[in-house]
């Protein structure tokens, strides 16, 4: 049986939402109609990362990527491309160069040009439900190598040498963590995969698992071998049903193939993995809170030391790494630390996955070598700011990250540089902000999230973030007063330095960084009662200019009867009655209403 074409359909959550499964049905129907069913192989893949262009399919050979598809496009693709052999330029996502060490399969998309995929190397390529697909692309080869050629100490040494650092946010050297845990003497040890991805707008871990669950399993099995654990747990939020389903299936397949369970690959190494579901508390991404949650207790962080490597799950030495870190492990082993070290910067090796979102042309999942600049990400990969707007800031590191203005666009993405610039790597959220956004409002937005998600245990985070949120709310409502900025800084700095866990220690970052980089916006809000972006409703006023011809359209739509004026004469807005709904502004055909 010879297939002529292979079509990869992106079956990630984004594309599913955009109706890719209906397209699949249409494609099946269309292929059947033309008796092509046995000539075209259909693969399902995890997230390709081009979520804003979904639904996405890839036609091979030829690496043609089709995006933004609707049902009728399928008919055209089948008749024009598959039957006549003419790729459809109109639907293809075409860019110039492709740089990927592993697989030149994505075709010519600029989106991928600056990227380099290690953790996501198989995402979008293999069928995540098929262990054969994973095995075909050197899956479990690293595990085989470890079990046959390497001692546990060799494995730890290799990871140490690679310079890999924790991808969950803090950037702790992974090898050291492995070393500490390996050196503990205990009758039982555990390996945990932290898949409790809670940053709003972040979907790195979800996509990595949905696209390639076996990589995570392989990394964990290797970790178990290296530190002497027999049991692994994946803590994943219950809100990720597809990822959970794929993990469950992958675990079953791995067990059936002798890759999990007793005597793995016919050696005397035993290891198995269980899934634990989180109930969606953001703080459970913090390792000690996560461990408590697995233990069946309220997910609240505890002071460290002792670190989990000494006393973790059920008091046993525990190796806990994030999804992306685990996904890097098979590559580190397979291609060696020496190679891995060549990627990235001096202190940050390898690549980092980001969820690129906000006011940028290409949103989606990207993986770039450490050291790539923010400018390259925003402009080369992200395609710049849409609608001709001005770039204002980029916020990295999720809700606890800082907002960096244009001056920092040439900051290379690595742990130290981002920290120096006043932000954090975090787990990989990246939100681009344009001139239409108010920085005070942005800071308030993130702080509202973190103060809601505070576990309530330690005073600075529980009480302090609430007070900061109250001050910010006041400022955006036009009730800010002298001293508010100083109090925000005083509280923010104290909270960062006094809080028990990483949540509190980073929650004030958006506020402090926006005060540092956009202080004038705060001052305008407080002293001039103005919001330059026109976001804070209480600080906007609408006025009617001399351009008014007295048509009365604004008067008719005003819900509070705030506009008065006789026909053909200039109208006026009674500011006391105006509720700033903006209806008049939208309605005026003569550009006679200003918003300030």
């Amino acid at each position: 049986m010879a297939y002529e074409y292979a079509i990869t359909i992106c079956d990630g959550t984004g594309c599913i939402q955009k109706g890719v499964r209906n397209l699949r049905q249409a494609l099946d129907d269309e292929l059947a109609k033309h008796q092509l069913t046995d000539k075209v192989k259909i693969n399902l893949s995890g997230c390709l990362g081009m979520c804003d262009k979904g639904p996405v399919i890839v036609v091979n050979p030829g690496y043609t990527i089709y995006g933004n598809l609707v049902k009728d496009d399928i008919t055209e693709i089948v008749t024009e491309h598959l039957i006549k052999g003419n790729p459809i330029a109109r639907l293809a996502i075409q860019e110039d160069f492709m740089y990927n060490r592993f697989f030149r399969v994505f075709g010519d998309a600029k989106f991928f040009g600056k990227q380099m995929r290690i953790a996501l190397r198989n995402c979008g390529i293999i069928d995540p439900d098929s262990i054969d697909d994973y095995l075909a692309l050197r899956g479990y080869e690293a595990l085989a190598k470890v079990l046959t050629d390497m001692t546990p100490a060799d494995v730890v040494e290799e990871v140490k040498k690679s310079g890999l650092r924790g991808r969950g946010g803090a950037g702790f050297p992974t090898g050291l963590k492995w070393d500490f845990t390996a050196k503990q003497q205990a009758n039982e040890k555990f390996v945990i995969c932290n898949a409790d991805e809670g940053d709003p707008g972040a979907f790195m871990d979800r996509s990595a698992i949905e696209g390639d669950p076996h990589t995570v399993l392989e990394g964990m099995i290797i970790g178990g071998y290296a530190i002497g654990a027999k049991k692994g747990m994946i803590y994943i939020r219950a809100e990720y049903p597809l990822a959970i389903k794929r993990l469950e299936k992958a675990i079953k397949q791995a067990r059936a193939n002798g890759l999990l369970g007793n005597n793995i690959l016919e050696t005397d190494f035993n290891f198995d993995i269980e899934i634990r579901l989180g109930a969606g508390a953001f703080v459970c991404g913090e390792e000690t809170a996560l461990i408590r949650s697995i233990e069946g207790r309220r997910g609240m962080p505890r002071p460290r030391p002792p670190y989990p490597s000494v006393s973790g799950l059920f008091g046993k030495p525990t190796l806990i790494n994030n999804v992306e870190t685990w996904a890097n492990i098979p590559v580190v082993i397979m291609d060696g630390a020496e190679w891995f070290k060549t990627i990235g910067t001096e202190k940050s090796k390898g690549t980092k996955v980001f969820a690129l979102a906000g006011k940028v042309v290409n949103t989606g999942l990207i993986e770039v070598p450490m050291g790539t600049t923010l400018r390259q990400i925003v402009y080369d990969i992200g395609g710049g700011i849409p609608n001709g707007k001005q770039f204002k800031a980029v916020q990295t590191g999720g809700p606890s990250g800082g907002c960096l203005p244009a001056d920092y666009l040439d900051t290379p993405v690595d742990y130290e540089s981002l920290a120096k610039a006043g932000s954090i790597m975090g787990s990989g959220g990246m939100i681009v902000i344009d001139e239409d956004s108010c920085m005070v409002d942005i800071a308030k937005f993130f702080l509202e999230f973190t103060q809601n998600e505070s576990c309530g245990k330690c005073t600075p985070c529980r009480e302090g973030t609430r007070r900061m949120f109250e001050i910010l709310t006041r400022i955006t409502e036009g009730k800010g007063k002298a001293g508010d900025i100083e109090n925000l800084q005083r509280l923010g700095n104290m909270i960062i330095k006094s809080s028990l866990c990483g949540l509190g220690q980073s929650a004030p970052n958006p506020v402090l960084s926006t005060i540092k980089n956009f202080r004038e916006e705060y001052e305008e809000h407080i002293h001039n009662k103005k919001c330059r972006a026109g976001v804070c409703a209480n600080l906007i006023s609408y006025t009617i200019t001399d351009k008014c011809i007295g048509c009365g359209a604004c008067k008719r739509v005003c819900p509070t009867n705030a506009i008065t004026g006789s026909a053909k004469n200039k109208h006026t807005i009674n500011q006391d009655k105006c509720v700033k709904c903006g209806m008049c502004f939208e309605t005026c055909k003569f550009d006679a209403i200003t918003k300030l």
Partner: protein, 594 residues
């Protein structure tokens, strides 16, 4: 010592032990770092962040309660920066606190108040909204006021780690976080044992006892009724602390005099009824031992233990002695024997118990403890409430001329006295049981193996060649442990004493709050209270319950003999399994905890 390390605190060099936290090292060097959630008997929470210090080379402040010292560490406890951070943290607690100090139960004895003063908070920066919750008044013993809670977690920890009850837990997130019983049901419907240890450790007034002082003041003015008080052993050993006396001063005479001055017609001693309890309990034990009854027998004096047992250990109900507690026996005798004696309608008697205990308030309301349709005990007040009443009435307690208790429920043996300390009931019971069983007097009556504050104590003695093995547990967490042993090895013990509170009644949930220079449930204070009772025992000529002539007279004139029909009617009770909110019988382990 070889394991000493060098550290610097505020620029000065010290040699300290290396296996401790910064807080303990600083304590040893004379620097008392301010603290709030920390408690020496509980696990480290690290929640309040008041104890933060600066360590050179560490970016953030570190919580000294949980951070270990290391050789060469340079610690700063008192820089302008750290003082400001600590001050701001305490201010944040005040910002979300009712600050109704003048009308608060803990005014003048509140750790938050003291801290705010010490931190120098004289004006405020960050005030905003405050939380608002309804008080939970449902429990007969403990009032829960979440508005005053500062979420230090001490109550949650003592309830789970020391008491093993797990009645409390944090719920919700962030600013909305609150400590509550399961499903936020009323406290009275929860697994709470009413022991009141949450009150003892609470730094503010988030937990207080249900207060009966106003009601009692009113009744004391009622000339139509006879007001009778009885006083538990451990109250006299602790009440002096409420008047700034050092722990361990026995204030028995001052207490009797003060209660009379408050308006009580008679002041009796619960130690008398403790002797009575021993007569019944020792006899019950011997009966079980000789007639093949259910063993081990477990004591039943502690009301928190009673509730705990009915909830968590209903399978062992038959092992528990049917004897009422000394308070309820005393109440029963007041409303029968004594009422007869003075020719008064028992309905006209107000029976008040002054107890070290909040659970006694719960016990007094148990319907099965009624006598002839009347409550045996009408009102229970704690040591704290008694001290407040004495202060409020303007009595000079410390300089009060001591007086005796009133006959005939006054005279007590040393055995009745030591009821207030863990191991005391067992010791008292052995003193009597030995003689009842062997016909010989036990001479070596101070049984060291069951004294002291070890959580679980074991002892044995030989009676007529028969080895009797006993165990003593105090704190409900230890009770769970000893009962697990009983389930595994039913023959290991013959007799077990269980007290609900750490240290026994001297550590009860109604004892005076810790003063400004001590901590709640301070081990030294508990030891001093215990010593006060042991000293009193040693000073008595009668040290065995059955030798108490008033007890002998009571049996002669009224009860007949121990375990008689009349004794059963008035001095014994029964229990029934209870299933409050939060109990799942399927998996008992999950409820009981460790």
């Amino acid at each position: 010592m070889d394991d000493k390390i060098s550290i610097k605190i505020n620029g000065k060099k010290y040699k300290v032990a290396g296996d401790q936290t910064i807080m303990h090292a600083a304590d040893a060097c004379g620097y008392h770092i301010p603290r709030l959630c920390y408690h020496p008997e509980l696990s480290i929470e690290g929640a309040c962040r008041v104890c933060i210090v600066q360590v050179e080379g560490v970016k953030n402040y570190v919580a000294s309660c949980c951070y270990p010292v290391a050789d060469g560490m340079k610690i700063h406890t008192n820089t302008a920066e750290i003082r400001r951070a600590r001050r701001d943290i305490v201010e944040l607690l005040l910002d979300n606190h009712p600050e109704d100090c003048h009308t608060c139960e803990r005014d003048g004895n509140c750790e938050l108040q003291r801290l705010a003063y010490a931190m120098g908070i004289r004006h405020r920066h960050f005030e905003g909204v405050k939380k608002h919750y309804e008080k939970d008044l449902s429990s007969p013993s403990v009032i829960r006021d979440p508005n005053k809670c500062i979420l230090c977690g001490r109550c949650v920890r003592i309830c789970s780690e020391i008491q093993g009850i797990n009645a409390l837990g944090q719920a919700f997130r962030g600013f909305e976080t609150i400590v509550m019983p399961a499903y936020n049901k009323p406290f009275a419907e929860s697994v709470c044992s009413t022991c009141g240890q949450c009150i003892n450790v609470c730094p503010t007034a988030a937990f207080t006892e249900k207060n009966y002082t106003q009601e009692l003041f009113e009744k004391l003015n009622d000339t139509d009724i006879i007001k009778i008080a009885q006083v538990a052993p451990s109250v006299r050993a602790a009440i002096g602390e409420a008047f700034e006396l050092p722990p361990g001063r026995n204030m028995q005479g001052e207490l009797a005099a003060s209660l009379r001055k408050l308006g009580f017609n008679y002041v009796f001693d619960t130690q008398f009824s403790a002797d009575l309890t021993i007569m019944e309990e020792a006899s019950e034990f011997l009966e079980r031992l000789q007639s093949g009854g259910k063993l081990p027998m477990i004591t039943s004096c502690s009301s928190a233990w009673m509730k705990c047992m009915e909830q968590f250990h209903p399978d062992l109900i038959e092992n528990v002695s049917t004897c009422k507690s000394p308070m309820s026996m005393g109440g029963a005798m007041i409303k029968t024997y004594f009422a007869d004696k003075i020719g008064i309608d028992p309905k006209k008697i107000l029976s008040v118990a002054v107890m070290c205990c909040t659970a006694k308030k719960y016990e007094a309301a148990r319907p099965e403890l009624q006598v002839n349709g009347m409550a045996a005990t009408d009102i229970v007040i704690t040591t704290r409430e008694a001290a407040w009443m004495i202060k409020s009435a303007g009595l000079d307690f410390v300089n009060m001329k001591p007086e005796e208790f009133d006959a005939p429920l006054a005279l007590s043996s040393g055995a009745g006295t030591i009821f207030g300390v863990t191991g005391g009931v067992m010791e008292a019971a052995i003193r009597t049981a030995y003689e009842l069983f062997t016909g010989e007097t036990l001479l070596d009556i101070e049984i060291e193996s069951i004294r002291g504050f070890e959580g679980l104590k074991e002892g044995k003695l030989t009676m007529d060649g028969k080895e009797i093995r006993v165990a003593v547990a105090h704190g409900l967490g230890n009770a769970h442990k000893v009962l697990d042993t009983v389930r595994k090895e039913p023959d290991r013990y013959h007799f077990i004493e269980i007290m609900g509170c750490p240290g026994g009644c001297i550590g009860g949930g109604g004892q005076p709050y810790a003063g400004s220079n001590s901590v709640p449930l301070d081990k030294k204070a508990l030891a001093a209270r215990a010593q006060a009772l042991y000293t009193s025992d040693r000073q008595k000529t009668i040290r065995r319950s059955h030798e108490n002539p008033e007890i002998q007279r009571l049996y002669r004139e009224f009860l007949g003999r121990p375990l008689s029909e009349k004794a059963h009617e008035l001095l014994h009770t029964h229990y029934a399994p209870k299933k409050p909110v939060g109990i799942t019988t399927k998996n008992k382990k999950a409820v009981i905890g460790k």
